[in-house]
């Protein structure tokens, strides 16, 4: 019996080294089976905890009516637009604060404080200023994305050894070349970390915003379902959120972060 189990386990390990994606999917199978068992045995009332089959069925229904693809698209577009502006504004600001001692003294405490206020606390006053709509959401996401990007860019720029600056300067590097060939590559690993954190926070902020002021999107789908008391759609929303972010984070952002870290950072292969 034990040899059989061991042999199966070693087969599984060999499989996951060949195809790492299997290793990320298989662990969810026992989880789903446990969920199914709990709902079949009616440990909790069905209304409170529907089973996997019902969630899949509601997924099918929502895709068929076109609600889900539309909401998903809305959420992703909002996140993309917000992140774009967050990055475009955040990286230059971070480089400025990182390079100039004066800007650092004047802006760093303010940055820390405004980061501490947090995106969601801005919602009420933003609603007063811009009303319910795309502007409010975009501002919240830009606000969320920008701080991790700025703070990490500053850290990255300031962690470049001063000898590097001096070496480049004494070799006659101009200001633009300093920026392109010393400061930016030196700060890139940190910028990427900031970007990954920022997008993570932005994703959560988007959900909160859609729940509180939304008229469409995955967060709105969940909140609408909550109003109707339908746990199935809430669970579906959570699963979609988790899966989507998991894919984006572990298949796109983490490899980029690792790659820049290996290329320009302190980690050596």
């Amino acid at each position: 019996m034990t040899t059989l189990l061991l042999r199966a386990w070693s087969r599984y390990l060999r499989l996951t080294t060949h195809w790492p994606s299997i290793g990320t999917i298989v662990p969810f199978i026992p989880l789903i089976v446990a969920w199914w068992l709990v709902t079949e045995l009616q440990v909790f009332p069905r209304v409170f905890l529907p089973g996997p089959a019902e969630v899949v069925r509601s997924f099918g229904a929502l895709v068929y009516t076109g609600v889900l693809p539309e909401y998903l698209q809305d959420s992703i577009v909002r996140l993309a637009v917000g992140s774009f502006w967050g990055i475009v504004l955040g990286i230059p600001l971070g480089i400025l604060v990182g390079l100039s001692q004066r800007a650092h003294k004047a802006l760093w405490p303010v940055l820390l404080f405004f980061q501490a206020i947090g995106d969601i606390a801005w919602l009420p006053i933003l609603v007063i200023w811009f009303g319910y709509g795309l502007t409010t959401m975009t501002v919240v996401i830009v606000y969320t994305v920008i701080f991790p990007v700025v703070l990490n860019t500053v850290l990255g720029v300031r962690s470049i050894p001063i000898t590097m600056h001096r070496a480049a300067l004494s070799l006659g590097a101009s200001r633009t070349r300093m920026l392109w060939e010393v400061v930016l590559p030196g700060a890139l690993p940190n910028v990427m970390t900031g970007l990954r954190n920022g997008l993570g926070y932005g994703w959560r902020a988007l959900i909160a915003t859609e729940i509180i002021v939304g008229t469409s999107g995955i967060g709105f789908l969940m909140f609408d379902a909550r109003r109707a008391g339908s746990v199935v759609e809430i669970l579906l929303g959570m699963i979609i959120l988790g899966t989507l972010w998991y894919i984006v984070d572990s298949w796109i952002l983490a490899p980029i972060e690792r790659a820049t870290g290996q290329r320009w950072g302190l980690v050596t292969k």
């Binding site: 990320t24 969810f28 405490p109 303010v110 820390l112 404080f113 007063i128 959560r204 959120l241």
Partner: protein
């Protein structure tokens, strides 16, 4: 002689600390002055942005009639209860799972999945399961902290070099000594980082949850003020939220994180 030199050094440290504290506060003084001057000068509608005096007045009123204190107390209470509960479960579970490399590599993806969902995404279902109020919000905070701390503990234990564990075992360390002298200290820097990140998400989740699912707390205070266009209360609430988190993060979490990673982590004190 020695004592005097020590005192001088002490004094220099104090002076350095004082001047950096002053420099930290200076930009805020500038902002406050700008606020006090510019808003009345351009005659901004107080429904869009409040005057400095009215925010100070709102703060004083809130302290005098106790509402502000009650909201802050409720929010901090929820964070504390949720976090302590989460830590009590997360750290033992994380260590238990991290001890075996096979188990930890198998369980990493589900835990990553759930730490992605941390916090805000749980609000709708939490409010259905527990009803509006203390239970739902504590559950949201518990979730935000629990999965991230468990994941980080698991990661921390599994990154302890195997030689260290083997060395301890071959020197005759029992299970208890192994736990308290190898596994816990080795994982501690990761655990503390996890707590800091988790609390960051929990704090945001708390504000969002209080806007939706309760009738007391800072988030609720903000959201109700919006209904009456009381911008001075909104801005006051935002400042309180920012100051509280800054104090919590900079004076409590960041020093602990730095201390643990200096003591047990890879960073060496220069």
């Amino acid at each position: 002689m020695q004592a005097r030199r020590f005192l001088q050094a002490e004094e220099a440290v104090m002076r350095h600390w004082l001047s950096s504290a002053l420099w930290f506060c200076a930009p805020f003084a500038v902002l406050l002055v700008l606020w006090a001057v510019l808003i009345p000068y351009f005659e901004v509608n107080p429904r869009l942005f409040p005057h400095l005096e009215s925010v100070v007045q709102a703060g004083l009123d809130g302290i005098k009639d106790g509402t502000l204190v009650r909201h802050i107390g409720a929010s901090l209470m929820r964070v504390t209860v949720g976090t302590v509960l989460a830590l009590v479960f997360a750290i033992p579970l994380g260590i238990a799972m991290g001890v075996s490399p096979a188990v930890s590599s198998f369980l990493t993806p589900p835990f990553r999945f759930f730490s992605v969902l941390a916090g805000i995404a749980w609000i709708p279902v939490a409010s259905l399961w527990f009803g509006y109020g203390f239970g739902a919000i504590t559950f949201v905070i518990f979730n935000a902290v629990f999965f991230i701390v468990t994941y980080n503990t698991l990661l921390g234990v599994s990154t302890i070099p195997l030689q260290v564990r083997n060395a301890a075992a071959s020197l005759g360390a029992g299970r208890w000594a192994m736990l308290t002298e190898v596994l816990l200290p080795g994982a501690l820097p990761n655990i503390v980082t996890g707590i800091r990140t988790g609390l960051g998400f929990a704090w945001r989740g708390l504000i969002a949850a209080e806007m939706i699912a309760t009738n007391v707390g800072l988030g609720y205070m903000l959201f109700v003020a919006r209904d009456f266009y009381k911008t001075e209360v909104i801005v006051l609430g935002m400042i309180v939220i920012g100051v509280l988190w800054l104090l919590l993060d900079r004076l409590l979490l960041a020093p602990i994180e730095r201390a643990t990673s200096e003591r047990w982590g890879l960073v060496q004190r220069a």
